[in-house]
Amino acid sequence: MTEEIFSKKLDRRTVIKTAALAGAAQIASPFVITARAADVVKIGLDNPLTGTFAAVGKNELIGCQLAVEQINAKGGILGRKVDLLVEDSTSGDAGTAVQKARKLIDRDKVNFLLGNVNSALALAMAQVSNEKGVFHVVPGGHTDAVTGATCHWNVFRVCNPTQTEANAVTPSLIKNMGKKWYYITPDYAFGHTLQAGLEKACAKAGGTKVGGDLTPLGTTDFSSYLIKAQAAKPDVIIMLPQGDDMINLMKQAVQFGLDKKIHLAGGQQELEALEGLPPEARIGTWVFEWYWNQPGVAHVADFVAAIKKKTGRVPTARTWFGFAATWSCKLAAENAKSLEAVKMAKAFQGFKLPPEIALMPDTAFYREGQNQLIPNLWVGNAQGKGSAGPDDLFHVTQVVKGADVSETLQETGCKMTWPA
């Protein structure tokens, strides 16, 4: 049948040749891109653009883009123009993330590597960047190990370790919601460490764990987990999934009417997830790692305005992660007056972010010997509608100082070894 159609109207070989040509063009065109000027400073972003973390990954990208624009407007890094190279790491495939990291380092010869949202991918990438000796900033992968047990001299992190988040939010949770906790936890590095952190903090405050379940990344139907959780009769169900998983979980919990019987709350919450929820499902006590509505804090309004101009929406914590991570590259290079990774990393120990980058009430600094940024954290409640407009989805009750809730350097287990 197909043969006939083709032979009558269109020579089959022509079709084949056109298809082959079109296919070849797909492969051939990017080769042109490799002819880039050699004197630019390259920042490679290897972050999710597809899958569960697509939304948060894209917001980090926007933050990076804004930072690069600002850096270039202010003369680049050490007088050289900055180029941002972006690769999709996927949301959960470490093989791809590692391959892309290699591509950025080996082929594109990036001076800085950024990524990843997914904690497991961040760990895998950190191993590559360490092996190659490239300055690496993790904007938003939270698992403790990144700047804990498997910390590296070249890997810096902007977002908080999960233990810090757990310590920040636990007192409010115990006070507002009760002491018997049930966990619904995503089954990967971030979830495991966040739950462990909360268990530790909860036990310290006199609370107990009555049960828990691990959910695979990308779960869409949480009903069986919710039924089990309800049967355990906890005071509060601690919900730890992120991204689309968090949206599905919260929606289903509210549809089941669980919010009428049991408190729903958790550790880390993000504006992206709250935006994806119907107003009645925006409930619970959480911790935010950065919030756009900070009346009276200098420079924040400018940043919010710049992002709004770019995207039409307010920045989220993720936007700020990308922004701060990219600026950290410039600050590290100019602080060390060099693009050599070892020199930059050494000079960056204990570095304090200037207020126009930190965008928070207290000083944020990279802790010496751990490379972990110690910023403020915002504890509060999700709200259907806030006083500062439709984007004000989080009611801040307390701004916590990172230094007060961070583990000590010894507790983190980070033992840094520098190259000889």
């Binding site: 084949i16 597809t50 590692v98 760990l123």
Partner: protein
């Protein structure tokens, strides 16, 4: 005449492979991309030993690929820091699993065989996914890296020198491919072809069909687990995705893409697959659609794969 052509083709293939790290850079590639092509090519050629030359479709080869990978990773991390020994352990683990599972499923045919291979593949996937303490679960197994090979008279630093690693992989690839080619030319290989063409007639001729399919499955899985081990060494990392059904699907796609009736077909398929994935994914986040479209086009218009087109062209 034909054998002469085949020999020139072989020589060209090997020359291209030997020089790949040099010409790939001119085309905007990088050395690790070459190594990745080799690893996928080996896996797909091993699958094709079963698919193209025995006529049995397995959709669960990623299980043995992943077992090889975890064998290598866990040997280096927990037992001894030796790359050759780790590879050996990886192969043995993958092959033993294949021997047992192959024995269980060898009586099934066609789609039933394919479905049971998927099922067994997923069993291994969930074991690695769930067994957090040992396999690292969804996070994968980190904290180890390939170890330089000590040959006694010299040391090959495959960790810091990607080109050296490429040539080590190429050497292993050459041996593996050589063994497969030799097997296919032997009476054993001819018997497999006979089974592929007409299983009933082969049975009437007194050929123990089940045993041959089991052996073919075993050999195929042996080389797939070798490829898996090399994959782990390439990434210095392994996670449960290496065992999942979509990885198995990738191998089948690669084999079909390149041409599953020809010996070198899967390698062409691997080169296209890896390079396309690498470049298109840098340009658009919808890269999977392009890969899918390309595959659909190939299957619709060139059911014998890319090498099939070239071969037909040379005949006409």
């Amino acid at each position: 005449m034909e054998t002469l052509n085949r020999q020139t083709a072989n020589i060209i293939v090997w020359l291209l492979l030997l020089a790949m790290p040099f010409w790939i850079k001119a085309l905007g590639g990088y050395t690790e991309l070459c190594t990745q092509v080799l690893v996928y090519a080996l896996a797909a050629m091993a699958l094709n030993f079963l698919l193209g030359f025995t006529g049995v479709l397995s959709f669960g080869h990623a299980a043995y690929f992943g077992l090889g990978a975890y064998g290598v990773a866990m040997t280096i991390k927990y037992l001894v820091a030796s790359t050759p020994l780790a590879l050996l352990v990886g192969i043995v683990v993958g092959t033993i699993a294949a021997a047992i599972i192959g024995w269980l499923i060898v009586n099934l045919r066609g789609v039933y065989f394919a479905m049971v291979t998927i099922a067994f593949g997923q069993v291994f996937y969930f074991i690695t996914f769930r067994w957090n303490n040992v396999t690292g679960g969804d996070d994968g197994l980190t904290g180890w890296s390939r170890v330089p090979i000590d040959l006694g008279f010299t040391r090959i630093d495959i960790l810091h020198n990607p080109t050296a690693f490429y040539y080590v992989v190429l050497a292993i690839f050459a041996v593996a491919v050589g063994i497969m080619a030799f097997l296919l030319r032997s009476p054993f290989g001819r018997t497999l072809l006979a089974i592929r063409e007409n299983e009933r007639r082969a049975r009437f001729l007194g050929i123990p069909v089940e045993r041959h399919i089991w052996l073919s499955f075993l050999i195929s899985c042996l080389f797939v687990s070798l490829a898996g081990g090399l994959y782990a060494l390439l990434n210095n990392f392994v996670d449960p995705r290496a065992l999942r059904w979509d990885m198995s699907g990738n191998f089948v796609i690669i084999a079909v893409l390149g041409g599953m009736r020809s010996f070198w077909g899967p390698m062409i398929g691997a080169a296209i697959f890896v390079v396309l994935q690498d470049y298109v994914s840098s340009m658009t986040e919808n890269w999977m659609s392009f890969l899918g479209l390309f595959f659909v086009l190939i299957v619709l218009f060139f059911p014998r794969g890319v090498l099939g087109i070239l071969r037909r062209k040379s005949l006409s």
